[in-house]
Amino acid sequence: MKKTILHISDLHLSVHDSIETWFDKDSIFIEKLTTSIKANITELSVPKIDFIVITGDIANKSLEEEYRRVIKELDNVISVLNLKYENILILPGNHDINWMQSEGAYLGYCSNELKCERKPEKFAFEFMEKYSHYQEFHNVLCPGIFFDGTKAILWSVPMDEMKLIFIGLNTNHHECFSEDYHYGYVQISKLKEEYVELQKKYQDYKVIVFSHHIIANTNSENKAIKNYSEVLEFLYNHCLISTFICGHQHVGGAVESIREDDAIKLCAFGVGSLAKFNTENRYNLLIFENNDEKITLLKREVGFISQHGSNKWIKIGDDNSHELYNMKVEQIPEKLESDSLPTIFEEEKSNSIDTAIIDSAIEPSYVFKKYSELFLQIIRANKFLKSGHFHWSKQSRTLGFIDTSLLFSNFEYLNIAKSALLALIQEKNIKPDLILGLGMEGNLLSGNLPIILNCKFSYYPYCSRKVDHTNKEIQVDFTNVKNLILLTDVTHKAVTINDLIKDEFDNLIHIENIYLISVFYISKNVPYADNMFNHFDERLKFYFVTDEIKIEECGCKVGKENCSIYKNKLDTVFEFY
């Protein structure tokens, strides 16, 4: 038996030209989309789409006219796919919070309280007026599901034949007009309360969670659910939880996956924005199939890609298939005695949880927040962030850069960086056999670390500059190295690391772990996960000190001959290779 979900997200439909989407730019966008969906489900031998799940940011400013337009566009989609409104499940995202309504309600309340000479006691996010336009839209689209913004679980849809249940998690508990609350958050007490009720009926069901904000440690506050570790802890201990599916980041791929013995135990992934310009435009087809008491999930990602002057929907990469794993379940008592959660580190529970999950569930520590703040202060005070057009290699081009050679020329700042790197290596419990300093800056950052960590040291030029170094400068002795650290100042797409691994493939064969450790991670578009560069080499893990500074990429194709700024001499181009 199969159940097929069409997962889309982040439509950001606007009517005021404040944001561009393909709905405006391509008059046959819907036609292309539905044609692609139908072709893919045929290819996957799936009879039909069972549900469309939209994980938030459906409108751009949560305006009534935006939702009216959404309904119009969705009507076109479901009519072609032979679906009805009852096949659609939606979740609000942060852009579905109406700031005017939110602020109006809060200020009105405050003014009343003050008139009564009472101190206002409600938080800005507690006013459900923030959902007013979304709620109206929801009532039209999903009349069978009552929308209650105070809830943690907005809907639950069981698939009894497969003993599967989809739940829609409300991660907007704190979102509102106030700048202090622009982040995902789940009300844990409500989650527990509501889950107790659900579990009475669906005790042995495998749970698939849909949410808007992501459920992983990205080191970036407004991307992840702020209290994700509490959410994860609760769900691990009390659900047959296996998969989180989210939106918000406008990128697909694996947000986080944990492998043990080649079986994915837990998987979290997102999807690109369906139609917003200048982002990854994607939809996912998710096929749940049960065979002999096992349920597998097959994910196919399809992207709207420019090819030969026009845009088409094309399958991205290979289909990803994994078995939904049976996690340990503990009974939740009828009445929870206190709000305190069982700790994730209790031994009997940790046996069933991969330590990688525990590691990734730990929040970015206070230490690295402090280092981030320090670096921001330093860079701001000294104007180390430069604008311009920088060609680092054939593939790597940015519209700005952090002048790390100036930054690390100051011995105090260099010391801060080295201390941060040492703290990072020790926090991740890495015991290196060899530190390889990459380029001048990597060597600067390596000073004294090998003697403190009692390991070997060697150096290597950036791969794009290897041709300007002698063989002796490139040769490295990797004998008896099991844990290798590649140390660098800035990581963007890690293209140079990929080149290094390819070039030194034979020498690295016996190495068990490769750690790319960087002071800055600057990529704007790719969300962080420690195995995000796994596709270069599955041994590769990536850690950084701070990702607070994001730098835009040059949008032109690979090769300086394709760079319009370079070709037309529009600006100074700094070439570093």
């Binding site: 230490v367 402090k370 280092y371 320090l374 050679s405 100036l406 690390f408 020329s409 100051n410 011995f411 260099l414 010391n415 801060i416 080295k418 201390s419 040492l422 703290a423 300093g437 380029g439 001048m440 800056e441 060597n443 600067l444 950052l445 390596s446 000073g447 004294n448 090998p450 003697i451 403190i452 009692n454 070997k456 040291f457 060697s458 150096y459 290597y460 030029p461 500059r465 300007d468 170094h469 002698t470 063989n471 002796k472 400068e473 040769q475 490295v476 002795d477 700094f574 070439e575 570093f576 290779y577």
Partner: protein, 387 residues
Amino acid sequence: MICSYIHNDKYTFIQLHAEQSYSNVELFKKSSLKVFSSINDSEDNTELNEEMLNINNGVFGEKLTKNTIEKLSVFVKHQKFKTKYLVIDFSRLNSIQKNTSNQLFKLIEFLTEKQIIVIYTNISDNLLDKINFDQYVMITKSIEGKHVISFDEVDLKDISDLNKELFQEIFNETLVKKLLNDNLEVEVSKEEIKMGSFNFDKEINYSSSVYLSKYIDVKKIIQRKYFFHYCIYRLAMQIKAKKWGKEELLIENSKNKKAEIVLFFQTLSGAYIGSILSDLLHVNLCFIDHIGPINKFYNSYFGERIKAGLNYIVVSDIICLGTEVKIAKSIIEFSGGNYLGNISILRYKTIDERIKKFDNVETLFELNKETNLKYNLKYKIFTEFDL
């Protein structure tokens, strides 16, 4: 692990200030966030600042800490000493962390049981007051104003022989053994070229247009991790002690005076050496990427990095004919900086100093006609004219 461990047949030396300098660097790295936070906090954390800043002293630290003595103890317990004497040098240390003296005594007891004669040298009056060695001391002598203490019966002549020249000699021998003997690779021989059997496709790893009979593999030198760090420490002390053509010392304790020297480097190995020196001396750095063996500049605006009026010392691993240093000097001066001189781990002396004198250079080891012969290095530089 101890980095300053050197020995000949009779004496083993350990220089505690070197160990303390690296302990300072390590302790600072581990506690730096407290320092930065306390400096940035508005609360009055004077006491915390003072304690933390004491740790952040590199080579300027004069206090012997528990951490260093523990390292020494661990080393001594696991090391098999083949010499009669273990000489622990206390130069440049003037105080000791509270409640630490006991550990020094335990060390003496342990070594005595092992029948190793321990001699503590270059102990200042100040330090001697703080550590009550009396019950352990067998012999005490004063040499050049500092105290030498032995804790066992020892031939007085053996104590008198403990001088700078002996120490330097042992250091040189150790350097040659650890950094040169194993890492000198045959590069070019005259016979090969004359007979036509030289492989002209072979890559030559130096920037000057000469033939070198041997090539020093810098990466292998760096692999001698502990001794290499000791060499960098000694280089740091040489830089600190030199006036560099000025009327007074330029590098002072960073608490009292802003450092006026910038270390300049232009190679990958230079970056690593410069970084360690920066930790020890608290001086800023400047680099261009890169000069030598292949010259290729990537920073198209390196001129901005060199500030007019600042003093630059070029840091190199090995200086042969000085080609790269000359290029670096030109760049520094063209950009408005003051070129003070250069430092290196090894330096080749290729010309009589009566013809050309180099006042502004510091090196740990000079490879010249005498040392080439003395240590049997068989090093040659030749050109086509010699064939």
